[in-house]
Every structure is written in C-alpha cells, then in structure tokens.
Amino acid sequence: MYVDYLTFTVGQLYFGIPSAGVLEINKNLEVTPVPGSAKFVKGLINLRGQLVPAINMHQYLGVEQSQLASQSISIILSVSGKLVSLQVDTVGDILPLHESTFESAPSNLSEASSKLILGGHKLSGKLLLVFDYKQIFPTEPQANQLNQPSQLKQPLITN
C-alpha cells in the first residue's frame, strides 16, 4: 500500500510526513515571538484570522540552526482540528512510498528520539525519517489528575 509523504529537510536531516495531515505550505510568514514560552515554540502566526503556533523544528529536534537559511518555510498541519506550523529549511517533493521500504527505528535510538521518529523509509541513497507529527501537541494532563494532591498515589476506593 502506497502512502503519500511530504518531504522536508531540517539541517542535514531528511524527513517525511504523511501528506494527508498537511493543510498548506507557506513561505515567510510573520512569526510573533512569545517571550517565556518553550524554546521550540518560535511564536504565533496569523493564518487568516487563526492563531497558529509555529514550531522551530531545529530546536524541537535538537539540530544545529543553519546560518544560511534566508527564508523560512511553514508547513501548516491540522492535527485533530488544531493547527500547528512546522518551520523547516526546505520542502521537497511528495513521494508515494510503499510500506515495504519502511523499517522501524533501531532499538538503540534514545527514548526521547523514538517518540519523535516512527521509523524510516530506505530510499535509494538516503534515509527518509518518518516524523510522528501527531506527538507534537503536548499531551493534556487529565483533568482528574490535576485535582489530586501530590502525595496521593493509590487508586481511589469508592463505595
């Protein structure tokens, strides 16, 4: 079964994401920084009246920022109704890839990294890393857990 992947690069790394989740690709959108936010949040983008958080992929992936990048490219994704923008260096072709070339991540990939990377497609000459973009939204803490005093560990016994 073939799946269409949108390819992009961040630093020296070559990534792909299933193109179904991609809303649009934009160049040089103005990003308003949010002081005090997490480092990988570059700021907010006004996308036709909707505020979209922009993720600095260099920071997110821990890749050196290339000084040469004169322009920023935004890949706008729609993840379960929410929009997010990935700021990447370049965007490549959309490639139809077959699952036969897919291989999951090697077991010595660090736990943090394996959360980001689902696996890789072995293309001729290079490796396309499949970025798990659904993980990018911070997991919302469950409402119930918020209420519990911290010393509580055991489950509740209800009558």
């Binding site: 005090g36 936010s37 907010l44 006004n46 505020l51 993720i55 911070p138 409402a143 209420n147 016994i157």
Partner: protein, 757 residues
C-alpha cells in the same frame, strides 16, 4: 412567551437531548456490558435530569430518575452487574421519562400518574433483590397511565386523586376518546407555540466569529485608502462596508452573549425547594445578574452552579436552631454575585453558614485510606479543601436526594477547568463558605491599550489601566528612585513601584536608565497598583481575545492574543500574572475579597472624581468618567486663535478652556512656574483641554450630589468628602457657555455638536 416559559422550553430541549443520548448509550452498553465509562456517562445524564426536574418540581420525573440513579450507582460502583432484567427495567424507566417530557411539552404540567411499581422494582434491583415477574406486561400498571391523562392541566393534586378514582369506572372507549383529544391537543401546541429556536452548532458560530474578525481586519486595512484616493464613490463604498462590518460584529457578539440572570432565574425555586427539604431557612441575594457572558460558558457553568448551591444549603448552612444557638440570624443568606473583573467573569456563591467541616474531611481522608491519622492531623485547612475535589469524596455518609452520591466537587472542578476557569473555596471556620469561580472570556471583544516594546506590540486590557503617565527624566523634579533595590517613582506624592515590560519579558535584559522620557502605564492588578514602563503607547482599540493554545499554556505574563488591524499578532498581557511574577502580588490569590467591599463595589453607590483646584484655592471636581487624560502644558506653548487659546498637543490642535472664567467667584487660571495642568475630557471629536490651577487626586464620593440652590453657573452640585465641600463642575454647561460666547462671532463652529446633547 415569558421568561419562565423560556426556561421550561430549554429544559424540555435539554431533557430530550439527554434521553436521546441515553437511548444510544444504553444500546451501546448492552453490547459492551463492562464499559465503565459508558455507565458513568449514563449515571451522570440521569443525575442531571434529576437535578433539572428538581427546579420545576416535576415530582414524577425526579422520583423515577432518582430510583434509576440508585440502581445505576450500584452498577457503577461494581456492586451489581448489569443484566437483561436490569436493562429492561432501566429502559422502561426511560420510556416513562420520555412520556412525561412529552406531556410537559404539551401542557407545561407534569402529567399525573403512579410510578410506585416501577420505582419499587428499580429499588428492589438496586438493593440486589430479584423481581418475581416482569411487570412490563402487567395490565394493572398500564391502567393508571390511561387514567392519568384525564386529569391533566390545571387540576390540583386533590382533584387528580379524585379523578383517578372516578376514572376507574370510566369505560375504555371513553378513555380512548380522552386520549385522542389529548393527542390532538399536543399536535396543536407543537405547531403553534413551540417553535424551538434554531440550534446552531457552536463550532459553526466560532467559524463565523473568526470570519467576522477577519472582516474587521480587512476593513481596517481598507480604511486608510480613502484618504489616499479622494474618490467620492470609493469613499462611500468603503463607508458602507465599514458600517456593515461594525453591525455584523455587534450582532455576532450579541448572538453569543447572554446575561447570567437568565441562568440565575432558575435558582430561587431551586433554593426554596432544597432548603425546604433540608428544613433550612435560606434567603437568596443576587448581585450583578446583568453580567454578560458567552452562551457556551453559561451552559457550561449551569450544572456546577446548581451543584454548588445544593452543597451550600445541604452542607454549609446550619439548621435554624443551630444558627440561633450560634448567635446568627435564623434565616441564612446565600449570595450569588457576578461581575467582570480584569477580563474574567467572577462568580461567587457565598453563604453565611457554618462553613466546611474540616474535622469531618480529615476523618474521611483517614477512612478512605489516603493518609494515616498522624499525617492527616498535620494537614492545614486549605490542604483539606483540596481533598474535596477528589472523585467520590463525599463527607455525607447517608445518600440523600441532594448529595452524597459522589458526583461531587471533582465534576464541578472538571467542568470549570475544562472551560479554562478556576475554582477557589474560602471557608474560615464557622463563617460560611465562599466559592469563587473565575471564568475566562475566551471569546470576547475587550477594549485594550496597544503598547510597543522591543518592536512588538502588546495589548493591555483597559480594565487594568488606571492612567498613563509620561515621565520625562531630563526634568529635575522627575526621577526614578531606588527603594532598597525596587524601582519606584512618585505619582502625586505617592510611591508607585515600577516594572519594565522589556525586563519582565526577557529576564536577562536590564533597562539602562537614561534621560529619556518614560511611558508608564499605571495598572491595577488584583490588589496592587504599579507602573509598567513600555517603549511606546499607541492607542486604545477593541480587540478580539483569542485563547493561547496548548503549546503556550502556562506561559507567564500572557492571557491571550489578538490580531491587530495590520494583521500582526499582539499578545495580551496578563496584568495579575506580571504582578505576581514580580512578587508584587504573590499573596493576592490567597486573600479572599472581603464581602462587604465586594458588595459596595458592585452596587457602586460611589463615583470616582478627579479633584483639582482653581485659582484662589477653590476645590473642584470632575467625574472621572468624563476624563480622558491629564496633561501638563507649557504656558509658552499656548497660541492664540482669534480670541481663543489653542495648544499643539499630540499632533492635534487642542482648544484650551480656562475653567475659572466660567465659574462665578473664581479667578482666571494662571499656571505656576510656567506650566499649566490640563484635564482633557472625553467630548465629541474635538480636543479640549480644561486648564486648572493644580490637580490633586482621585477620590470616591457619593453618587448623589447635593444640588446647589439656586443653581450656579457651571456647577452641577457639590459632594462631601469628609468635612470638605467640593463643587463638581458641569462640563456640558461650561462648553455650552463657551459656545454661546463665541456664537455671534463669524468664525466656523469648532466644537462638535455632540457635546450639546
């Protein structure tokens, strides 16, 4: 259709929704019998239905749902297993509920009838017993249903009973006749009265709202072009778009905003019924019912509020005898208060009962096995309150109709946090309980001051702004002083702590203090006033508040974001957060607002006045509402325009009025040491400056002025401030006097006619 009909209609719509959902859930449950989430959902839905029927005193509804809930509660807790008999019985109960709702829709009254058998069956099942026969097909239970239809409408309970007896002798044909009449009646009512409002998905409304917001921005971009191209046709077309957009925006907001009184109007009855059931005497006070908030928020806080009110009456308020013994008034007071506060809606449910029983909570903490006794004893009162928010934590040992089922504060808290709000409980021992809900206006348009800092724009909600000050450090009398490491400056002889926005946003940054003029916004956070230094001050405009999404939750200093006319994003500053971040107001969250203070603020019997002097030491005042800003001008800058005095002020021509000239008994104002304090009031479109001798302070005086008799020119009346009598000027009259004096002159009218109204 009056308001109580509206509420009833809403109830019917809600009940139908619940029943429809229950049907689906039950069917799903049959397939997946051990799905705990589903059981909890059903349980909660029935609980809600029961609660709502409590308002309207629909006893049958309430009793059946109570019985159903008892059974479901046991199933939820795993004490009983759902089987076919139980499902059938529950579905039967559901059908009766649906019949009742239909009856209510037709006649606005609950159809009378006898559900004793059904309730008994449900309770037998709930207690773990077995049913001997299935009563669903038992003709005896069907009979009362038929009878009951004869006694609908305005029959009192007495006559209902009588008619039920006599109906037994009615022939069946007679009864069926009645049914026919009744059903035609239902049809008639359906086509006529209940044209339910169109239900629009909130998502659709949100999308529409976004589009309107975009439209406003597009309009803002379009407006400057009319000045560039002086084409009349183009201008009028743009003007048209401008007006339409404005109206669109206003309508859009109105669709979503509703006064909280709409929700509160249900409560007097609820409180009456609940307090009767508990044998308590409760007096309800409502304040701020006209506070508007978003429709979706009103819906979201309905159940939590009902729950909190029930809690207050059931748990906190004492029985009359106990109140008298404690030296309190026999009737307890339950106050509902709402108001806008710094971009949030604050809702308080306050009672003057015994408050939270901390010892009971502590025992319960130990009983439930959360902590051992030694650890529990060390818990402070506020730590004990945290336990109230745990699921299934109830201090009531007996399950009553009102509380004790474990659908508790955890659900309330979840509902509130889900909409981005917070809940706080204050309960000093023996002095009642105050529950404070802070609900954000996630979707709202608020006026905000746009300021600039480090090349970015930020918005400060106008509610937080007290005044704007320009502090020119090159002048000798102005300086920033060091209060043992804290920067302060003197504002009318009071020290005001200073924060630099650039430093707050970027901790590494240290602002070098040159001789530059500082733009300072004097802000009021929760309980502290401070000055925030910004690079630039732009303008005040209405902004659409957009919440920050999950990536930016927990970022300090910001409460939201908005889009400016040029399409750029501006972050909205969280003034309380900034103050707390700078340790200015670290404790403010923990200090409950004194109820007396709250009340006086809400009723606003007092009005703020700006106090100033005219030459000769005459103490005068002007209502602060009328004042736009205060400035100080150099006398040498005053120029003559005919017989008028004008000043060049912030790129506009400001007309100067020496107030003293218009009020008998005072002298013409002259500046001290070359500078002249000027009050700039809010009038029409022109810029006017009221020159006075000196400006003192802002004071609060009674709203009701003493009217001077005979009336004096230019003075509206006088107010008392302690022992001092202060004359309050009549701005309109002064402007009129000025225009009249200028009237005969051939010069064109300068002052906008708006000031005349």
């Amino acid at each position: 259709m009056d308001s109580s009909d509206d509420i009833l209609l809403e109830f019917i719509l809600e009940a139908r929704e619940i029943l429809d959902r229950l049907d689906i859930d039950f069917v799903a449950l049959e397939k997946d019998i051990s799905n705990e989430k589903l059981i909890a959902n059903i349980f909660r839905a029935i609980h809600t239905l029961k609660g709502s029927s409590g308002f309207f005193a629909f006893k049958r509804l309430e009793k059946i749902s109570h019985a159903g809930e008892s059974l479901l509660g046991k199933i939820r807790d795993g004490q009983l297993r759902l089987d076919e008999i139980k499902t059938n019985k529950l579905l039967e109960a559901l059908d009766v509920l649906r019949e009742l709702i239909e009856g209510i829709e037709a006649t606005k009254l609950e159809p009378p009838g006898d559900d004793a058998q059904l309730i008994k069956d449900l309770l037998i099942l709930a207690s773990g017993g077995e049913l001997v026969i299935s009563t669903a097909s038992n003709p005896e239970t069907l009979l009362p249903k038929v009878e009951s239809i004869t006694g609908h409408n305005d029959a009192t309970e007495m006559s209902q009973g009588l008619m039920a007896h006599s109906a037994q002798t009615l022939e069946l044909t007679n009864a069926s006749q009645q049914i026919k009449e009744n059903s035609s009646n239902i049809e008639h009512v359906r086509s006529g009265e209940i044209s339910a409002p169109v239900k629009v998905n909130l998502e659709v409304l949100d999308k529409l709202m976004n589009l309107v917001g975009e439209m406003v921005l597009a309009r803002n971009r379009l407006l400057p072009f009319t000045n560039q191209y002086l084409d009349l046709n183009f201008s009028s077309a743009v003007r048209n778009i401008d007006l339409l957009t404005l109206e669109l925006q206003e309508r859009m907001m109105k669709i979503r905003m509703q006064p909280i009184a709409q929700l509160w109007s249900k409560f007097p009855r609820l409180i009456r019924d609940v307090s009767h059931e508990c044998g308590k005497n409760v007096h309800l006070i409502q304040e701020g019912g006209d506070t508007e908030l978003d429709k979706s928020l009103i819906d979201a806080i309905r159940d939590p509020l009902v729950h909190l009110i029930r809690n207050s009456i059931d748990h906190s308020i004492e029985l009359p005898q106990a109140r008298i013994a404690a030296g309190k008034n026999e009737a307890a007071t339950l106050a509902l208060r709402a108001k806008h506060e710094k971009g949030m809606v604050v809702i308080e449910i306050a009672d003057d009962g015994a408050g939270i029983n901390y010892d009971l909570i502590r025992n319960r903490v130990v009983d439930k096995g959360f902590l051992d006794e030694a650890a529990a004893i060390r818990l402070t009162d506020s730590e004990l309150i945290d336990y109230l928010f745990l699921p299934g934590f109830s201090t009531k040992s007996v399950i009553t109709n009102l509380s004790g089922r474990g659908v508790g504060m955890d659900v309330v808290k979840n509902n509130i946090t889900n909409i981005g709000g917070s809940i706080e409980i204050f309960s000093p021992r023996g002095q009642g309980t105050t529950v404070r809900l802070k609900i954000p206006l996630t979707l709202a348009i608020i006026p905000a001051l746009i300021v600039g800092c480090e090349n970015e724009s930020y918005a400060i909600p106008q509610v937080s702004i007290l005044e704007l000050v320009k502090l020119d450090l090159s002048l000798e009398e102005n300086s920033i002083e060091d209060f043992y490491g804290v920067k302060v400056f003197r504002l009318r002889e009071k020290l005001v702590p200073l924060l630099f926005l650039s430093e707050r946003l970027d901790a590494d940054k240290k602002e070098p203090l040159g001789d530059a003029a500082l733009n300072i916004a004097i802000l009021q956070a929760n309980d502290v006033r401070f000055g925030l230094v910004v690079d630039k001050i732009f303008n005040i405009q209405d902004v659409v508040v957009k919440p920050l999404d999950s990536f930016l939750k927990g970022v300090p200093n910001f409460s939201g974001a908005t889009l400016l006319g040029n399409g750029r994003v501006a972050l909205i500053l969280d003034i309380d957060g900034i103050a707390a971040g700078a340790d200015l107001a670290a404790k403010s969250q923990e200090i409950p607002v004194h109820p007396a203070y709250e009340a006086s603020e809400m009723q606003s019997e007092e009005v703020a006045m700006l106090l100033f002097d005219l030459a000769g030491g005459h103490r005068m005042a002007i209502p602060l509402d009328l004042v736009e800003r205060i400035a100080s001008i150099d006398e040498s800058e005053i120029q003559k325009n005919g017989n008028r005095e004008v000043v060049h002020y912030s790129n506009e021509i400001m007309h100067l009025i020496r107030v003293g000239e218009y009020i008998d008994g005072t002298q013409t104002t002259r500046g001290v040491a070359g500078t002249l304090p000027v009050i700039i009031p809010r009038v029409g479109s022109g810029l006017i400056g009221l020159a006075v001798q000196c400006i003192h302070d802002i004071v609060f005086v009674s709203k009701h002025l003493h009217i001077a008799n005979p009336p004096q020119k230019g003075i509206a009346g006088c107010a008392l401030l302690d022992d001092l009598i202060i004359n309050v000027i009549d701005l309109d009259e002064i402007l009129v006097m000025r225009n009249m004096r200028d009237g005969p002159k051939p010069y064109p009218e300068v002052i906008d006619v708006n000031v005349w109204h």
